[in-house]
Amino acid sequence: MNYIVKILAILFLPVFSGYALADTINLGVAGAHSGDLASYGLPSVKAAELVVDDINAKGGVLGKKVLIWAEDDACKPELATNTATRLVSKGVHVVMGHICSGATKAALGIYKDMNIVTMSPSATNPDLTQSGNYPNFYRTIASDDAQARLEVDFALNTLKITKIAVIHDKGDYGKGLATFAKKFIEQSGKAKVVLYEGITPGAVDYSAVIRKIKRSKAGAVIFGGYHPEASKLVSGIRKKRMNTIFISDDGVKDDTFIKVAKKYAEGVYATGPKDVSHNPMTIRATKDHQKKYGKDPGAFFLNAYSATLALLNAINKAGSTKYESIRMSLNNDFVDTPLGKIRFDKNGDAEGVGFSMYQVKNGKYVELKE
């Protein structure tokens, strides 16, 4: 594989008119820039342009100008391999992308063989980092199971609960979360899942399930689903005078939940995206975007902005574009981004990016600081 790609890369080199100059830092930006999902990919190109303009104005990285090489994969795995090959042939040093998990996975093998660090702003599939197959992969977005992980860690370590009931609403989102939560609880060995059930959304009441929770003597309920069911469950539990702790997800971290469950909402925990709107870098990045493109930034803009910053910062700190040095820097050096001060864990997930635990206090969700 390694050789084939290298040979291909050499063969294709002259075909593409502009191949990278040796005295620039070449940043590949890959993702859906056309097709149905272009709205997910194009904001990342704009984010990269803004960051690169900024950095070049300040003298570039390691004294060299940064060049962007944008390539489209239309979010299709079969196109993503071509995209990756093209970028490799242009001599990119690092890649910011791809956008969709499927396309990212398809392209990653090629980058891995070529020792190119790749950082996605939006691919959330847990396997990409957790499988350990792609040491060259990093991301600035929390993986799909991050909320479940946070909920379970919070219940086990902060609240020290040993019996947990996991309830979900049978939907993709709720059941997916509940499955992860159950897995994490069982893996930890610190607590037992005493009840694992799905409830029917829209049913007139959940009294039978609530009685079951009571019977299971669970200290906490982890609920995967949305606020209409959560508010019915919580009110039912409190009306039965049970003080079971209720922990849920960002489907419940919604003001409608508090409006509907009223006094019963008090004390409920829910995970939600970290509030970064007050970060001065976020404010600046958004303003720059409005100034340059005349509109508000699109999906994953901040993640892409942060990814670009993290990559270029790592090259700067490492002092070279060598694969190992960049990786070392990503794992060790903190970088200031709109998403906060971040570095990456050994799997490649950004530490401290993603979700925080919130609790309802006096009729409002309050972010719990650790």
């Binding site: 029917t200 007139v204 009294s207 005078r241 009223k262």
Partner: protein
């Protein structure tokens, strides 16, 4: 769970039983409206669930206004209930005049389609006129103090629902069996032409049925909304489907049948959740429906109707 002692096991059973009864009464209260309309014109009034939803929304608006002017407690409940009943009855009356009366002699499928159309129309009308969000519904029924000791088993609203269902069933049975209007209704149900010949105004009878049915739906709407504490434009659909199932289970057209069907359905769901898993709640409920319809095609206490020629 093995260590659980006998008292706990019995208590758990009683809790499931009471929960099932409450849920069953909720279904029964809505099912009564279905069964009455079916009994008289053999139409499955799919818009019945929407009347129920309209009742709940009316009560929400009235109670909101009254709370704003400083009223509180039981007076709000009764006023909201009264206005909801009147408003919904007017809707039921109009609904019949607009959507069903012109189709009275049409093939049986046409009014059914018209009913589904009205259901969709009313849902979307409320969504546009009010909101698509869930709205909090105030708890208009207080938690009675005499229940304080057993309120982990049955709360105030649940008790009121249970009593109302039984009361309404008795009143309806009385109305239909012993009053003048009840006799006229039964005559209309048996044979419209013959009823007309003996001087019964069948249009009035059918309107009366819709008014009574809608009033019941409004009562159910208000009671259940206070029990659950939240409403949106879509609540009528799911409640309606379940209530319709209950009506069929008990024998559509029969008033005690609707109540029995509701209670059986509620208990099945409660016990299925309690002893098996709530994942299979609906599976058990509908398996029971299939089973009963195979053994008794006209429902638990439905009459075996002769095909009218």
């Amino acid at each position: 769970m093995i260590t659980e002692n006998f008292t706990d096991t019995v208590l758990y059973f009683i809790e499931l039983l009471l929960g099932g009864l409450t849920r069953g009464s909720i279904y029964a209260l809505i099912a009564l409206g279905y069964t009455m309309v079916y009994g008289i014109i053999e139409l499955i009034n799919f818009a019945h669930g929407e009347i129920y939803m309209l009742g709940a929304f009316t009560a929400l608006i009235i109670s909101g206004i009254m709370t704003m002017y400083g009223y509180a407690g039981i007076s709000v409940f009764f006023t909201a209930m009264l206005v909801a009943v009147l408003y919904s009855s007017a809707y039921g009356y109009t609904l019949e005049k607009i959507a069903y009366k012109p189709l009275r002699n049409a093939p049986r499928l046409s009014p059914l389609i018209s009913a589904i159309g009205m259901s969709i129309f009313l849902q979307n009308y409320v969504m546009l006129a009010q909101t698509s969000d869930f709205m909090p519904f105030p708890s208009l029924i207080p938690d009675f103090e005499c229940l304080a000791l057993i309120d982990y088993m049955i709360g105030g609203p649940e008790l009121v629902i249970l009593i109302t269902t039984v009361f309404v069933m008795i009143c309806l049975t009385f109305l239909i069996k012993y009053t003048r209007i009840g006799k006229a209704m039964r005559a209309t149900a048996q044979d419209k032409q013959m009823a007309m010949l003996v001087g019964i105004d069948i249009n009035r009878m059918i309107s009366a049925t819709f008014i009574i049915g809608s009033a019941l739906a409004a009562i159910a709407g208000v009671l259940i909304a206070t029990h659950i504490g939240q409403i949106n434009f879509y609540i009528g659909f799911i409640a309606g489907i379940k209530a319709f199932t209950a009506a069929v289970l008990g024998g559509i057209g029969s008033i005690p049948g609707a109540v029995l069907g509701g209670v059986v359905l509620g208990l099945t769901e409660s016990f299925a959740t309690g002893y098996v898993s709530s994942d299979y709640e609906d599976v058990f409920a509908f398996a029971l429906l299939v089973l009963i319809l195979i053994i008794r095609p006209s429902g638990l206490i439905g009459r075996n109707e002769m095909q009218k020629v």
